[in-house]
Point group: C2
Chain length 153, copies 2
Amino acid sequence: MRFMHDVKGENALPATVVFRLGTLGSIAADMFAAKIEAIGLKPKHAGLMTALQAGVAASQQELASKLGVAPSLVVMLADHLEGMGAVQRVRDPDDRRRQVLTLTDHGRKLLGDCAAAARELDAELTAGLTASQLGALQRSLAILAEGVGLPTG
Amino acid sequence: MRFMHDVKGENALPATVVFRLGTLGSIAADMFAAKIEAIGLKPKHAGLMTALQAGVAASQQELASKLGVAPSLVVMLADHLEGMGAVQRVRDPDDRRRQVLTLTDHGRKLLGDCAAAARELDAELTAGLTASQLGALQRSLAILAEGVGLPTG
DNA sequence: TATTGTTATACTCTATAACTATA
DNA sequence: TATAGTTATAGAGTATAACAATA
């Protein structure tokens, strides 16, 4: 006979995937934010540039939709990135209402710096995993990401 | 010869564990928040109750430390939980400055409801994984959680 | 004087709503 | 009239700082 709520067992809240993803994700996001703060970026800037790099969105409306944020937030993110020379805004000649964003060389370099920071954190975060565990984790996370239709990749 | 920044490859930002944990974690947290909103709770309330249940903290200061939030936030979370009869505040007779929080029966029931909600989301989220992939994922996440000294897990 | 809890205040983030330009 | 972008405003969430009670 077991406890109905199974407070310590594998059915308890802390053992669920959503709980662990939520808590680990929050910590991971904070670590990443701290790492890229030095180059003047926040995670959402990296997310926007990643969407541009992947070619899944170009106009600000498309970006807002893909990133799952309000259009007004894209304006501020793009302002910041344009101000530091990471992206360029060019009016779409076919529809002059649209601002098409493109990554500059500097933007690509910054995105590379973000990736390098992320890889350093990966090494730190996954130090306790064996190589095969790490591989399995990466594959599982990729499947989960695909399952929820992840905005930014 | 490869591109220096390897923008699409497995070294790129979207393929890192931190990036995927961050994005998936945010989605998971939102899903969980939406599920438990109906019972008047937010993820941080569940985290606080989980810490109480696990016995890793009792006073509000200890909770603030374990949860990684400001003491003033614990006051508000505890106010809310006390208001709905999920926790009790009792003064520590040995040190009357300390408020010791304890879960009530109703609090334990609510925590069980949170766990049930999380399990439902797990089923939905991990539908694309095989049983063995799921098991491997759970083990890996547990190791990562331990590695970062997770507050509430 | 130091510490726990509380209250008051301010800041960050983000969304909603109003506005401008273009279609 | 409808849409892309922008600006202005407002709300949620959380931290910092001041305060009260106890040690």
